[in-house]
Amino acid sequence: MGKYIIKRLAMSILIIFLVSVFAFSLMHILPGDPIRIALGESVSEETIAEYRAKYHLDKPIIQQYGLWVEGILHGDFGKSLLYGEDVTTLIKTKLPVTMAIGIPVVLISAVFGILFGVVTAVKRGTWIDQVITSIANIGIGVPQFWIAILCIFLFGLKLHVLPIQGYTAPSEDFGKYVYMAFLPVLCLSFGFIATITRQTRSNMLEVINQDYVRTARANGISEGSVIFRHALKNALIPVITIIGLQVRIIVGGSVVIERIFNIPGIGALLIRAITERDYFIIQACVLVISLVTVGCNFIVDLLYGVVDPRVRKSWR
């Protein structure tokens, strides 16, 4: 088992290194001088040179990369080219916002997606199955922004029951946080629940016809245990992959949803940075998001082993 984990870990570190190189190269590959964009046209050459020196942009590229990575290892992501804000502080304030939306989305999607998947598989062909499966198909096909607009229109503008934008931190006022975060969480969860439902349903249908499920029934095992212990455990293996891919939004946030609901999260920050070419912020966001994505994939790999003993065995 140790060997497998070390191998996966080494792979993860390599990926993060490559991502950091790529993110860093952006500033130098893309046309246009970031300093000139930041300062405007009417600045003297001396000011530009001064600015360059301040951000170490006058040094060789390799050294620049080295300085950047060194800073990150000390918890310093650099400063915003435009506003001089400390990027680390920016990330520290925006990340909790995105996570406060993302974590409930992932939890809700996993719980309801698996639940609906099991129900539709067990009740296959009945009206319950047809209703949930139809809604799930809509959820997969319809883009998030459209659902968001519909929700804003219905709950916000027609029924006046939920706010159409804004955000309150859970630490500040939990009740208000739930109230404010309800719609964005709902809109983000809808598609994820739909994806997980469909995946769980098709896996369950496959597993339910397996011989070992018949054996469990033939041995008088209760239907609850047959479904949730014998069948679901086998059906979950591919579902874990799907959920693992979605965990990314805990940090990445949804750019679209944060924009629509005016939530000051990482997604909104990233959009701002890209439009303004604030490279250090882009680099930091890309790095943080990929760190979590790679981390999640690593955890998913370990979870396979927890669920499937055959995988665990192959690690040895």
Binding site: N219, G220, D308
Partner: protein
């Protein structure tokens, strides 16, 4: 012979599957019984309804598309087909009163749960024992079916065991629950020849020691003649001949049974001699003719057979020897 009380008596069982190509009459008015400590074989080709019959009695038919249309299965004076498929009463029958052993040992155990956990779950479903006691019962059961190092094996996953070993685990479930009846559906078909013999011997040993009854479902008539007390031969969803093993071997009456017996390979046969087969293929159960279902393949088919409806079982000899054929054929005549 004193009249013994039947352990399980199945009467007029009918099971159909509703498919796109119409109603498939998999089990068509089947009646049989098994007594205490008796070994009965149900023999027939693939798709003749022999497995579906057993699955129907256990109410394990996938529904839809399958449906039990009628009949009764009396176990200890109660019609178990009256119970709802998922009811407590039915679950108490499954595993505790009747244990089933399936054909595919490689897939019949859950791949992600240890053998011990699967075994103890069944034990705790049927017996009021603690986790620890159930574990010990499981260990004992594994030891009883000849699995070495049962303690260690309990912690194994099915994929860490061989096919024969897994089939022993399935038998251990029946041993642990002290079942009255074991239904073995092609228990050795998927195993290699030496393991086949071992597993079969073990099964007979368990039946003998635990004083249970055994129904063996198989396509191998040659195999069951060695240990079965009585044999039912099924064709196209019906029982077409039944009787004691001796009667069936020495004086088979139905042309299909005769065909099956002739098809059993003989060790003393000339090596250039071709194996005898029954010509043709089993009928489409969705489109059964009104006449005898075996008619198109029957070497004895007479003109009268084409005009008469499907024959019913008729007594043709003593000790409950029945055959469903219009013709009065004896193997001696052939």
């Amino acid at each position: 012979m004193a009249e013994k009380k039947h352990l399980l008596e199945v009467n007029h069982l009918k099971t159909s599957f509703y498919t796109d190509s119409g109603e498939v009459k998999a089990v068509n008015d089947v009646s049989y019984y098994i007594d205490e400590q008796e070994i009965v074989a149900v023999v027939g080709e693939s798709g003749c309804g022999k497995s579906v019959t057993q699955m129907s009695v256990m109410q394990l038919i996938q529904s839809p598309p399958g449906k039990i249309l009628g009949g009764e299965a009396i176990l200890e004076g109660r019609d178990i087909l009256k119970f709802r498929a998922t009811s407590k009463e039915m679950r108490a029958v499954r595993g505790e009163k009747i244990s089933m052993i399936f054909q595919e040992p490689m897939t019949s155990l859950n791949p992600v749960i240890t053998v011990g956990k699967q075994l103890t779950e069944v034990i705790r479903t049927h017996k009021k024992v603690s986790r620890k006691e159930a574990w010990q019962m499981g260990v004992d059961a594994l030891a009883n079916v000849g699995i070495p190092e049962p303690e260690a094996r309990m912690k194994n996953y099915p994929f860490e065991m061989s096919g024969g070993m897994r089939q022993r685990v399935m038998i251990a479930v029946a041993v642990a629950c002290n079942s009255r009846l074991i239904i073995a559906d092609e228990p050795t078909t998927a195993l290699d020849v030496t393991t086949q013999a071992q597993v079969m011997e073990l099964l007979l040993d368990v039946v003998d020691k635990m004083k249970t009854s055994l129904i063996v479902v198989t396509h191998n008539l040659g195999l069951v003649t060695r240990y079965a007390d009585r044999i039912y031969v099924m064709y196209a969803g019906r029982i077409i001949e039944s009787g004691t093993t001796e009667d069936l071997i020495t004086k088979p009456c139905h042309p299909y049974t005769i065909g099956l017996l002739n098809a059993v390979p003989k060790l003393d046969a000339n090596e250039h001699e071709q194996l005898t087969t029954i010509e043709g293929a089993p009928p489409d159960l969705a489109n059964l003719p009104d006449t005898c279902a075996f008619l198109p393949r029957c070497p004895y088919a007479a003109e009268s057979c084409r005009k008469l409806p499907c024959p019913e079982l008729q007594q043709v000899g003593e000790h409950g020897h029945f055959s469903a054929c219009h013709l009065k054929i004896r193997r001696e005549d052939t």
